[in-house]
Symmetry: C3
Subunit: 353 residues, 3 copies
């Protein structure tokens, strides 16, 4: 954490393309915080007008806010057009990214003699690194991580506690994996034989591109043969489950509890919202977005917005769901029509049925 004067913060924002104006005293701030939680000496922000009432109560000393919005005079205001985007810049400037404990190459880590470890290692006690592993420079491995034989990690990777990387899996550079996630476990690869399941050795691997970040307690199957892939720059929330042989493109975002079955191809910059499921062997195009709890059961073209289980075009799905919620009313109206038509038939002497 670094204290910043508001005038300094103005310059940092300008460097990032956010024109900002200081309105009030040029104070030093030592943290960014919410309206509710900020203390004296901290800077807060107002983006969503629904929280405007909380500005009067905040104990913050400064606020990022749009031009023209009223602010109590005891607060210094940094005014800019998009306070929500600017707050990210302020957080990086004041707080920076997490600093890890420094273990060097801990003698309490179990590192196989055949493993090759890059420069400036930060490997905690209780880490196990198996035979023939290659680890790049500047990697941090927290306690309880296990990197199995033949796995490769690039430079600047961070594995939080209890991450497991199975044998021969590959992580690119700047990959971050949160606690408890597993990369490269065997998928559900069994051949049926007389009502039993015979295990097929899973001899492929899982490969994660550069700048991938994986949430906590995710699981990414290795491929039966070849590779399961997570593309460069893709981010997963928590408990995302990826099946064997699935290839996820670059710059995707998968939210919590998403499950993608095996042998799926996902394009680039695809968003899957919470609890979405994707059936096996499908192809999903680029720039697709899928609403929460949807179930993808067929191929999806580029740029599609999907919703529902099974998912269809999101606009159609919302119309169908609205109609469904009004179904009991429509059922009554159909019954009434049947009554009236019967009445008309009688009147006209038309025989029923």
């Amino acid at each position: 954490m670094a204290e910043r004067r508001l005038s300094e913060l103005c310059r940092v924002l300008a460097d990032h393309g956010f024109a900002a104006q200081l309105d009030g005293e040029d104070r030093a701030v030592r943290a960014v915080n919410t309206l509710e939680d900020a203390a004296e000496g901290e800077i807060t922000f107002l983006s969503n007008p629904k929280y405007a009432a909380a500005v009067a109560q905040t104990r913050a000393s400064a606020i990022l806010v749009k031009p023209g919005v009223d602010v109590p005079s005891r607060l210094s205001a940094l005014r800019c057009a998009d306070p929500y985007a600017a707050v990210a810049v302020a957080i990086v400037s004041i707080h920076g990214y997490r600093r890890h404990p420094q273990w060097g190459r801990s003698p309490g880590a179990g590192i196989h003699p055949s493993a090759r470890i890059g420069a400036r290692p930060n490997i905690a006690p209780g880490v196990t690194i198996a035979a023939e592993v290659v680890i790049g420079d500047n990697c941090t491995l927290y306690p309880g991580c296990y990197v199995a034989d033949g796995a490769h990690l690039g430079h600047d990777c961070t594995l939080y506690p209890n991450v497991v990387v199975y044998d021969h899996c590959v992580l690119g550079n700047r990959v971050t994996i949160h606690a408890g996630s597993v990369v490269g476990e065997d998928g559900l690869g069994y051949a049926p034989l007389d009502g039993k399941w015979v295990k097929i050795p899973q001899v492929g691997r899982a490969v994660l591109g550069d700048d991938v970040e994986i949430g906590a307690n995710c699981t990414i199957d290795r491929a039966t043969l070849g590779r399961t892939e997570v593309g460069t720059g893709t981010k997963f929330g928590n408990v995302v489950v990826i099946g064997h042989g699935t290839k996820v493109g670059a710059d995707c975002m998968f939210v919590g509890l998403v499950g993608v079955a095996g042998s799926v191809t996902v394009g680039r910059h695809v968003t899957l919202a919470g609890q979405v499921g994707v059936a096996g062997h499908l192809a999903i195009g680029d720039e697709v977005s899928v609403g929460a709890q949807s179930g993808i059961s067929g191929d999806v073209p580029d740029h599609a917005k999907m919703f529902g289980s099974p998912a269809i075009d999101a606009g159609d799905a919302k119309r169908a769901l609205l109609a469904m919620q009004r179904l009991p009313e429509w059922v009554r109206r159909v019954r009434e029509l049947e009554r009236q038509v019967e009445e008309l038939r009688e009147k006209l002497g038309v025989a029923s049925g």
Copy 2:
């Protein structure tokens, strides 16, 4: 485990407000068990009449049962109005709660010199406690737990194996977290920039109130700024996923595989059944209950019962779902109406369309 005579158990039940009558020999029992699994010297129970037939086969020596229900004469019966509630009292009395292995302050734990550990610690080998951590009295930490720098645990907490608490997170008193759960990992906090995701440092924390119990392999994001909260007395099942900045009230119960997105406010005594999802930035009132697999996509008032994806009033949802399952029939009836109306139009010489 403590052996209890049935007459003693009667008194214990009475102390808890359950009037019970001993019908048969005053035997000692050493365990509570199911009808199917009980052995001689154990006490079983019958609550659901659908299991009545199993009473004849049980090997138990005693049974908790309603007055008036027939029981083989070889069984002593403890008769009370609510055997299902009474069995909980019997379990506590005879079995008590889990007794943990006793490690004291294990020399095999990695405890940073700046950490402050309370009285009577029970910290296993293979635990890591980082800098500036504060841990209250009587805390049990199983092997593989990691408590990151600046985290605070209250008194009488239990962390089962491989629980991870990220930096600066806070646990109240008597918090129990089952194996593999993670508290305070980074949420999906990224700013979009030219089709890439730029990470925003997540500088808030996660705060769990007193008497919270968290199941296995759950994940509770830290807030981007401020606090993610889990209220006093709230209980989570397994693999519950809570997004950044979400505030869950007191005495809630969330069942397995529930996912709540970020910035949600949940009231007190809310029940979310299995696989429920809640979209971001919503407000859910007090005493709400939501049926399994439902998806909450809008604010929910106090006392609402919700169901469906997207969730609506549970009664309406059930009617709509029933109607939906009969849709193919309604489609046939509409087609038949169209045919009949066309027939009538022709009869009357009305032009079509």
Copy 3:
């Protein structure tokens, strides 16, 4: 990995009941791989005709393929009727199953003196085995595993890193559990008391049969009383969540993110696809299959195929879903009928309503 000549592989396939013919040079192959990833000296396969175009590009030296399918002359072909099934045999023959690091009985493992460990143990540093545990012969426990007091493991079990087995749980022979899974944690067992949740000690256990394989980050609750069971030969994908007291039969397959609530009985050879949920206290018959994201809310007879949330007969569900997606059209048609009937009523002088 063992290199195999194609003529040898022919014989191995024949031994498994797959008649195969060598068409081309009798080369040695050292690995099985996908069309896309195979290198020289490797054998690939073509089963799904949609990948036929990739055969021209593969760098493999041999291919498993149906009789009559065209293949470039540089590739040796092993022709057989079912290349997809045959490839499993080829993988076992050439690659075999995963070979684990060999730790023996590591002095870095924490093994309680009262534990009984079978012959040829392979117990890594960082494993904890508590009091009165019994472990069979030939068991492999990776680092970070915790086996609590009184648990029993059969022969030939494999626990990948960070698996936790709670006290008194039982694993059969040849049980494999992937990284981060938890067996026997407490379920959601609470009694309501004045708006609070009072914990009921969970004194039952979880029992896994022979040849069970559990994916990564699964959770299997112990029973409140008696046993939670997973039947012989049953396989779970990743993040499968099983509630307390549930009994799953033999040879089932549960795919990723499946959740089964407590006190459910599941028959044998039941398939639950991804993200399926099952409500508590239900009985599911034998040979049942349930489609992805379905929610089982009632008992299910043998051999049923179910789909939807709540799930109904899969055929009916698909018809209902199709009808639902066309609902907006049906709504328009009902409105049109109402208009026409009103017109007819006017024509006939019938009073409205």
